[in-house]
């Protein structure tokens, strides 16, 4: 019996080692790197909190933070709602449901880089087929990524097209785990579809929803590829997100310390928001989501 106490830890060890190597170590390196600067010849120089102080005093950094928070405030609930709606649609084993499930999952199989390139071509204001279709339908063509007013909403829609199917899988698993008898008995008691959804389904989806919301929040705060490939943070900084600012600081402006400081700040923001989200999904008896 005493000898078998190590067995659970042995099973956990590979995952834990992976976490340490691929998560905790880079986080520690980023945190320590944020206290250093670099000479133009590549030598590291300890600068203390200078990188953070410069960020706090930089209006363009605050503008980027504001853009990122607005982006996440919209896209996170929007993507979760879309994913839940898709999951509800493909929940019942009807005819062709497998076809629809596969169709909703297809965007997940396309890499984010390719997604960005494809949508930039489709939404090109001059040569893109989407505007060609709009003109054909007698509607005015749209600037999409080329307009400061439309670029961020367009980015949200493209990211949702890519991500909704992925998160749908988790929510579908949660929906399929709900015993059918609960829904049936509510129906027998006279509850309509909306009442069953809000009274039975949603409360039982608390944990899957919490997981999807927190994971989706992290993913969207780290969104980079579409901004790098399509908009370069523009037009007029309309899509200048924090991850792009971190990338630019490191590779365009050769300021590794500033880049790592931004990465650390992103991590802190994600942690804070995740804690708030988990608290929101805490059940009435106080148990965690």
């Amino acid at each position: 019996m005493h000898a078998r106490r190590w067995i659970p830890y042995a099973f956990l060890a590979p995952a834990f080692i992976g976490l340490v190597i691929f998560r905790f170590t880079p986080i520690c390196l980023a945190l320590s790197g944020s206290f250093f600067g670099q000479s133009i010849r590549g030598a590291s120089i300890f600068v203390g909190l200078k990188n953070y102080a410069e960020l706090i005093g930089d209006p363009s950094f605050w503008s980027t933070v504001s853009t990122t928070l607005i982006f996440n405030l919209i896209i996170n609930p929007f993507q979760v709602v879309c994913a839940l709606a898709l999951a509800m649609l493909v929940r019942r084993p009807t005819k062709l449901v497998d076809v629809f499930r596969a169709a909703f999952l297809l965007p997940m199989t396309v890499s984010i880089a390719l997604t960005s390139i494809l949508w930039s071509i489709l939404l090109d204001p001059t040569l893109g087929p989407v505007n060609g279709f709009l003109r054909f339908a007698g509607l005015p063509p749209q600037p999409f990524f080329r307009s400061a007013g439309e670029a961020l909403p367009t980015l949200i829609l493209v990211a949702t097209w890519k991500g909704a199917g992925y998160w749908m899988v988790f929510l579908l698993a949660g929906l399929l785990a709900i015993p059918k008898e609960l829904d049936e008995s509510a129906s027998i008691d006279g509850a309509n579809a909306w009442q069953r959804f809000f009274g039975v389904t949603l409360p039982l989806m608390r944990r899957p929803l919490a997981f999807v919301l927190v994971a989706d929040t992290a993913a969207n705060f780290l969104l980079f590829a579409p901004v790098y490939i399509v908009t370069n943070g523009g037009p007029n900084d309309a899509t200048h997100l924090l991850m792009f600012e971190a990338y630019q600081s490191a590779f365009a402006f050769l300021n590794q310390g500033r880049s790592l400081a931004i990465s650390t700040i992103i991590l802190v923001i994600i942690l804070a928001i995740a804690l708030v989200e988990l608290r929101l999904f805490r059940s009435d008896d106080g148990s965690a989501a």
Partner: protein
């Protein structure tokens, strides 16, 4: 016959030697890792093959990258401070930046300065030493589609330097030809977002793009001349709608012109051969670079060089690469493959017959009197990146003065680290 011990030893040794020979031969070969611009296969492969033919013991592992990605990709590789790559393409104004950061080997011992145009050696130098090898410079001309001008009843521009069009004339002609709803455009820049292409707009009005010491943008790039010049550029996309917006891929704009979708293209001399090869039916002419009527003609120039990684472990091979690539024969070959303006005097002499066309007469006149290189600063990388995004954003509208002021502040912040 019985196998004696001596015979067994002899045959084993012979077998071992025969098996080892390919490995020995391979070990005697050197491979140079080269990062090059993503020019077409038919323009790069023959160049590299020629070098390998002359140097059978040196193989070239050439990685070509698209124009929009090569500079940032090089930053990642060079900042790792390894021996990779051995040789890489250098946009001439980046020579100072790379040299200041210790990414380029001094080449004074390998380059005979007297063989090159003085401006080429100047562009290759930093702090009094040569750090990059000149491999051709550039000039822009105004290509125009004769058929589109005729169909619109507009007189096309003249090829004579004395008949140089103003920007106002370009705008007027563009307005009369363009039909944006039918995807027919009046004018486009080849490089819609690049400072290389667009700085002459402000410089034509007397603007200075950066302080003489190369460390201050505020008060220069955000001055009245550039505000006016870039406001004119913005008008081409927003108010006048004669230019197709968002065409930042430099491969697309010549395609638009070549396929008859755009009446005028301001682009490099190398486009000429591409148009003739790919769009044989296209009836086009060339004219000098436009200027503002109240200003003076200014044309962009500036060069492709290549540089050597000082951390390369293959010093003999890279030296041979530099010597051969700067030889008269290979420079003539390069000129024939992709006709950039030559920096090597020998090419001008050997290809004298080529330079009798309208385009080359314009080029020679411009190189003598209107060509202005990009500003010299070790922070050119940051300067160009920040300004490029700002110029791109201007197409969508917005206050040009405010945008330039914000860009100038960012540039000053980032260039400061090079002051030492």
């Amino acid at each position: 016959m019985a196998l004696s011990r001596r015979r067994l030893i002899r045959s084993s040794a012979a077998s071992a030697l025969a098996l080892a020979m390919p490995h020995v031969a391979r070990a005697a070969e050197t491979t140079l890792k080269v990062v090059w611009m993503g020019w077409p296969d038919n323009q790069v492969l023959p160049l590299m093959a020629e070098f390998e033919k002359r140097n059978p013991a040196i193989k070239l592992a050439v990685e070509r990258m698209p124009f929009t990605q090569v500079f940032q990709a090089l930053e990642v590789r060079l900042n790792a401070r390894t021996s990779d790559p051995d040789v890489y393409i250098v946009d001439s104004p980046l020579t100072a930046s790379y040299a200041a950061r210790g990414h380029l080997m001094e080449l004074d011992a390998l380059i005979d300065q007297s063989r090159f145009a003085p401006s080429a050696i100047s562009a290759a130098s930093y702090d009094g030493k040569i750090y990059s090898a000149p491999f051709g410079t550039s000039m822009q001309v105004l290509y125009f589609n004769r058929a589109l001008f005729k169909a619109a009843g507009v007189e096309p521009p003249s090829s004579a330097i004395a008949g140089r069009w103003t920007w106002e004339q370009v705008l007027d002609a563009g307005r009369r030809i363009a039909k944006p709803a039918e995807n027919l455009w009046g004018f486009t820049f080849e490089q819609q977002e690049r400072p290389y292409q667009l700085l002459p707009l402000g410089q034509s009005l007397g603007g200075v793009a950066l302080s003489p010491d190369g460390f201050k943008a505020t008060g220069f790039i955000d001055g009245p001349a550039f505000v006016e010049g870039f406001s004119f550029m913005q008008k081409l996309y927003t108010e006048a709608k004669i230019s197709p917006p968002g065409q930042f891929d430099t491969a697309l704009t010549p395609e638009l012109f070549g396929s008859g979708k755009c009446a005028m293209l301001l682009g490099g001399t190398f486009i000429n051969d591409t148009l003739r090869a790919k769009f044989a039916e296209l009836d086009f002419g060339v004219a000098p670079h436009p200027y503002f009527a109240k200003g003076k003609p200014v044309t962009p120039t500036g060069a492709w060089h290549f540089g050597v990684n000082p951390r390369s472990t293959r010093k003999e091979a890279v030296a041979q690469f530099v010597r051969d690539m700067l030889s008269d024969d290979i420079n003539v070959l390069w000129f024939k493959l992709r006709p950039y303006v030559p920096t090597l005097n020998a090419v001008w002499q050997r290809e004298a017959a080529t330079f009798s066309t309208d385009m080359w007469r314009i080029v020679q006149a411009e190189m003598q009197s209107t060509a202005l290189a990009r500003p010299a600063t070790p922070g050119f990388r940051e300067y160009e990146d920040i300004l490029r995004v700002t110029l791109r954003d201007m197409q969508a509208g917005g206050n040009v003065k405010d945008m330039l002021a914000a860009a100038a502040q960012k540039i000053d912040r980032e260039i400061a680290k090079y002051k030492g």
